[in-house]
């Protein structure tokens, strides 16, 4: 790739933005109930201020639009965090879920489904958050604190221990989830499984509003670290000698990446593959420079999940498929295609 200039930066991002915008404009038209977007918009304009609105307007504004926004935010957050974790761990297989934080979140959510049968008072709501979201978020943050503590040696976190602690803790949480499922009654297990498969069902703008502040901070910090992450590509020692505070960079990346993952998992469960394939695809298309790769991943991941969610909503409408199944089914073959192609010419990753 050529060196990053202002012109290339703007041109490439404009391309990605176009893709994301196209996905977000096309998505509202499809669904169990087809919506004629221009007609709905004109009806919305005509009935502004009225108490009762045509159902098409309601579907567009209160179901489709918030869902598309949530899909975009979720996909973007997973893709950015995946790209950043791959750089942090210098491992092409890293995903936002690799470091065990999401497993903690899943365990929290599964507990939230299990407990109300025994502790009715736990079915609380905290502002815009319901108790499943709260327990999931708490589980993620708890896991993050635990992993951070385990990986911290001599005043800094070691990425190798971060990986080991994260993967191990992830396995422990998986076993705990199995244990809780074993004792839960079958109809609750169904709910747990639905949640674990990931999904973007919304009721208005509550979910979007509740994740937005956490994502703004989590993604903002990660995007701001792009230039330092570039330096990490040639190793910690060289980065350190260029003036990067490597220990602080690693801690910031882990904490704020985990914050983004925790908030996304709390509202959408586990949506696989976006955080793995979108960064890789973007890296192939635009090169490894994180100043370009991270915003590109945000736009591409957001657009990709909007598309996948549209397919999930419509393919067997009026029933919905979990979007995680679609991301893997659409993304998996595409990723294999990239792998095969890169095996023929050039590599995807520097060292392999």
């Amino acid at each position: 790739m050529a060196l990053l200039t202002a012109r290339r930066f703007l041109l490439v991002l404009a391309g990605y933005a176009l893709f994301a915008l196209a996905a977000m404009l096309a998505a509202p038209m499809f669904g169990a109930e087809p919506v004629n977007v221009p007609r709905a918009l004109s009806q919305w304009w005509e009935t502004r201020g009225a108490a009762v609105r045509p159902y098409e307007v309601d579907i567009l504004l209160h179901l489709r639009l918030p869902r598309i926004l949530l899909a975009f935010l979720t996909g973007g957050a997973l893709a950015v965090t995946g790209a950043v974790f791959q750089a942090l761990l210098r491992n092409p297989l890293a995903t936002p879920y690799t470091l065990g934080v999401a497993s903690g979140g899943s365990f929290g959510a599964v507990l939230a489904f299990f407990l109300p049968a025994y502790l009715p008072w736990i079915a609380f709501e905290l502002g815009p958050f319901n108790y499943v979201q709260c327990l999931s978020f708490a589980g993620s943050l708890g896991a993050m604190a635990l992993i951070y503590g385990l990986a911290r040696t001599g005043g800094r976190i070691s990425t190798m221990e971060l990986l080991l602690a994260g993967v191990t803790l992830g396995m422990i949480f998986s076993s705990l989830i199995l244990a809780v499922r074993y004792f839960a009654s079958p109809h609750i297990v169904v709910n747990m499984d639905r949640w674990l498969m990931g999904g973007l069902s919304v009721t208005g703008y509550g979910e979007v509003r509740s994740v937005l502040p956490f994502l703004a901070v989590g993604l903002g910090v990660q995007l701001g670290l792009a230039r330092a992450l570039d330096q990490l590509g040639l190793g910690e020692e060289l980065a350190q000698s260029r003036g990067v505070n490597v220990a602080r960079l690693q801690a910031l990346v882990f904490v704020f990446g985990s914050l983004a993952v925790a908030s996304v998992v709390a509202v959408a469960g586990l949506i696989g593959f976006v955080g793995l394939i979108v960064p890789h695809t973007a890296r192939r298309l635009t090169g490894p420079d994180h100043r370009l790769l991270l915003p590109a991943s945000l736009l591409a991941g957001g657009g990709f999940l909007v598309l996948c969610d549209t397919v999930a909503r419509t393919i067997i409408a009026p029933t919905e498929l979990p979007v995680g199944i679609i991301t893997s089914l659409l993304g998996g073959p595409f990723f294999i295609y990239l792998l095969v192609r890169s095996r023929r010419g050039g590599r995807m990753w520097g060292v392999d």
Binding site: M1, A2, L3, L4, T5, A6, R7, F9, A87, R90, R227, D230, Q231, L232, G233, L234, G235, E237, L238, Q240, S241, R242, G243, V244, N245, R283, G287, P288, D289, R291, G346, R347, M348, W349, G350, V351
Partner: protein, 292 residues
């Protein structure tokens, strides 16, 4: 290409060639340990000036890499301190330090598909702010150091696809792009064949002649003796001998440090000291008696 923008007063220091050689990098009684009761460095005193090429030599495990890392400000010594122009390195900001001292560690691997040009451009990090887009001056520096290291020909090739010698030159260019007056190179020639080794040494000597202070770790005593202005021989965490190559490359010193039979002769062409290893001849005679 970015259009050159009229930038306000440049925040970067002048290139090394113009800066006075007065600033010296000095190690004051350096002690370092990674574990209690195991000192890797035991009281190293060293003064290192701009404009000289110094070879840091000695057997494996005698603290060469530790010393170069402390001198580059990559770690803080357990005891003692390193000063640059009288200022302790610990009091100098990270980015300023990176503009003063360039450091090339051993075995740098790239985890992404970076091109040679991108690797070199990364060396501009301590001079950049914000998004770090390259300005006209950055482009000029990148071009100059790539020209000097003869890496322009493969600027757009992936660094992991280059040969060992080419890679090493690209990495050297990347460190040079920092425009630091001091360079610390940890075995830059260890994986190169002989003509590339000579090439690297010729290049870093030219840099020293231009006013840079270059400290290089190497295991090749003959190359070091030929190209370096000064040698520092490390042994068991201390400076065993230091000075002009003739003063350090003495049979007594080398026998003690390397524990092997050798003679020091003069290179018939260049006149610089030359080590000839003899091995343990007693043992070799034994080996010949019992062919396996």
């Amino acid at each position: 290409m970015t259009t050159p923008s009229p930038s306000p007063a440049p925040s970067t220091p002048p290139p090394a060639a113009q800066s006075p050689a007065a600033e010296a990098l000095v190690a004051h009684d350096l002690w370092h340990q990674f574990q209690p009761n195991w000192w890797v460095l035991r009281g190293v005193e060293l003064t290192f000036r701009a404009g000289e090429l110094v070879g840091l030599v000695g057997p494996n495990g005698t603290g060469k890499t530790t010393l170069i890392r402390l001198l580059a400000g990559q770690a803080a010594p357990s005891r003692g301190q390193v000063t640059l122009g009288g200022r302790p390195l610990s009091k100098i900001g990270r980015l300023e330090l990176a503009r003063q001292i360039g450091y090339l560690p051993q075995n740098v691997r790239s985890s992404f598909r970076l091109t040679a040009e991108e690797v070199v451009a990364q060396g501009r990090y301590p001079h950049q702010r914000g998004l770090g887009l390259l300005d006209a001056r950055d482009h000029a520096v990148i071009r100059r150091v790539m020209d000097e290291t003869r890496t322009l020909a493969f600027a757009r090739r992936q660094i992991e696809d280059l040969s060992g010698g080419e890679r090493q030159r690209v990495l050297l260019a990347s460190v040079l792009a920092q425009e630091a007056p001091f360079l610390m190179l940890d075995e830059p020639t260890s994986m190169l064949d002989i003509h590339h080794q000579v090439e690297v040494f010729q290049h870093i000597r030219r840099l020293a002649r231009r006013g840079l202070g270059v400290l290089v770790i190497t295991h090749d005593l003959n190359l070091a003796a030929h190209y370096c202005d000064r040698l520092v021989m490390m042994f068991e965490g201390k400076v065993e001998a230091e000075g002009a190559p003739e003063a350090v490359m003495r049979e007594a010193v080398l026998r003690k440090v390397y524990e092997t039979e050798l003679i020091v002769d003069r290179n018939p062409v260049t006149g610089s000291p030359m080590v000839v290893l003899l091995g343990n001849r007693e043992e070799e005679r034994e080996d010949r008696r019992w062919p396996c």
